[in-house]
């Protein structure tokens, strides 16, 4: 395991007790505010000293209270991407990018400025001052600065939450490239299910200082037990391949042999995608519906039906390409006799999948 975290910390009535391991790529700490995400990332950054615990990133031990080992923040070899960018106002973009490089040990592998600048598309910004940049440009520079520090752990604290929708969409692909092209573990704090769906390699779902669920992104997101973390968070993650672009503005995808139509996606035919279909946008039918405006009808078998104390229930539907979740009422579940093994159709409107829910596969 590339990233190993074990922490216990109690303060002011809040008590954190988490242990998780994660493979390379982006590990998203996911949960509502007050769930302990910030405490974990602060402990990783050395800004907070937990009561007990240890964090090891790719064999690099940041601290271990049992061994009385504690690296101060500046010796941790971090690349931190902050929520508000935090570029240095008195330095231009190039100086900001290179800020951390001079402090890295000579033995550290040097990331090439040219490569990073090209990857982030910020070549034309190098001579500018931070206050001349848009929010999205600032965040791209912040990603570059973190990479150029030669980090052994990259921390990202809600790096998209200060951006509006358009700028979020602008930055997400860069995080996808970061995930796919950089070998350093990335600890990423988020409370957005869309970000988790698109970016996460693995997810650590937190609630009130405890790990609720941890594992690969699709597995965790498809778990209806996440419902308490916010209904909108529940949704299925599917792997899809672009098969065709139609003249009427729709893009056709293949999900395990079934056809899915989405509003035009700027992706090449044959490219792999991850898409997230929120559970509350899916309806179910026992028979193949006819005369329906919804274009996306997926056939599958009910895996299980979970209901809580409220009027709602979440149905997991096994389809050939993965799992789809539907949030329906308990009354409907009873009326349709939904139970494990029953054949069923899931219906999703074409526009149910938001652009931010579509990512690189």
């Amino acid at each position: 395991m590339t990233l190993s975290v074990s922490l216990k910390h109690a303060f002011g009535g809040f008590d954190l007790d988490v242990t998780f391991q994660a493979p390379a790529g982006i590990t998203v700490l996911f949960g509502p505010s007050g769930s302990g995400k910030t405490t974990i990332i602060n402990a990783a950054a050395g800004l907070l000293r937990p009561d007990t615990g240890c964090i090891v990133s790719d064999g690099w031990e940041l601290f271990d209270t049992a061994k009385n080992h504690w690296l101060p923040t500046h010796k941790r070899r971090l690349g931190y991407i902050f929520q508000e960018g935090r570029l240095f106002p008195h330095l231009d973009v190039r100086q900001n990018l290179l800020y951390g490089q001079r402090f890295a040990p000579n033995s550290a592998p040097r990331e090439d400025l040219g490569r990073v600048v090209e990857m982030l598309g910020i070549g034309h910004l190098l001579a500018r001052r931070p206050d001349m940049l848009s929010g999205g440009e600032k965040q791209r520079v912040a990603i570059g600065r973190a990479l150029l520090t030669s980090p052994r752990l990259i921390l990202a604290d809600e790096p998209l939450s200060a951006l509006d929708g358009a700028h979020k969409a602008e930055i997400m692909p860069y995080f996808e490239r970061l995930r796919d092209e950089v070998s350093v573990p990335i600890l990423y704090v988020s409370h957005s299910a869309a970000e988790v769906a698109r970016l996460a390699t693995s997810v650590v779902a937190l609630d009130q200082g405890r790990v609720v669920q941890t594992g690969p992104a699709a597995e965790v997101l498809n778990d209806p037990m996440l419902a308490p973390l916010g209904v909108r968070a529940v949704g299925a993650l599917l792997e899809a391949v672009v098969t065709a672009h139609h003249d009427d503005g729709l893009t056709e995808l293949d999900v395990g042999g079934q056809r899915l139509l989405l509003p035009r996606l700027q992706r090449e035919t044959g490219s792999r995608l991850r898409i997230r279909i929120p559970a509350h946008d899916v309806i179910l039918s026992r028979k193949r519906p006819v005369g329906l405006s919804a274009l996306n009808i997926l056939h599958g078998t009910v895996e299980r039906v979970r209901s809580g104390n409220g009027p709602g229930a979440i149905v997991s539907l096994r389809i050939s390409g993965g799992t789809v979740l539907a949030r329906i009422t308990r009354r409907s579940a009873t009326a349709l006799d939904l139970e494990a093994g029953v054949e069923c159709y899931a219906i999703a409107k074409t526009i149910a999948v938001a652009p931010e829910d579509v990512g690189r596969g």
Partner: protein, 230 residues
Amino acid sequence: MDWLSPQEWQAVLLSLKVSFWATVISLPFGVGVAYALARGVFPGKLLLNGLVHLPLIMPPVVTGYLLLLTFGTQGPIGAVLQDFGIVLAFRWTGAVLAAAIMAFPLMVRAIRLSIEAVDPKLTEAAATFGASPFQVFRTVTLPLILPGIIAGAVLAFAKAMGEFGATITFVSNIPGQTQTLPSAIHAFLQVPGGESSAMRLVLISVALAMAAILVSEWVSARIAKRVAGK
């Protein structure tokens, strides 16, 4: 320069020299104390703050007399310094000490305000990128507070140029040795026919003060622009 008598000229030059050294020597301490007051957490912070501001509140003659008691050749520190061949009382060097102490609160105030204006999130960020506390100060805090340091230094210089009460009490008013600009004005006003000399020095005083303010405004505006990246 025959529009000033040798004595007047001496007083002007001495004041410039005293103020220059008072500013230069106290500046590192000013930055250090301002930083400690702005960011430090330590017992006795209130006491340090009070001590620094004391010369601003106390009658200058009291400060001068306390300096004489402490740094005079019979004083606890003065006696030790004398063993090393350093005498401050009734020397121009003593005028530097008096001016520095009197100007110190103004200098610390200006620098402290600029340090408090630096976003701690930026220094925190610098640390995460591998900068040690000293490197954080050198590469982030210092460039950002430069306008405040310059404002503090110019303010201190102007204050030192005008220092009178503590100086005359500690080092007296010896022409050519400890007679600064204000002391000279005071001396000229005590003798019949000295008014025109006094008036010339007063005009120089006003001009220097005005120039100091203009220079400080200009320099800090330029640096603020550079620091803010506009």
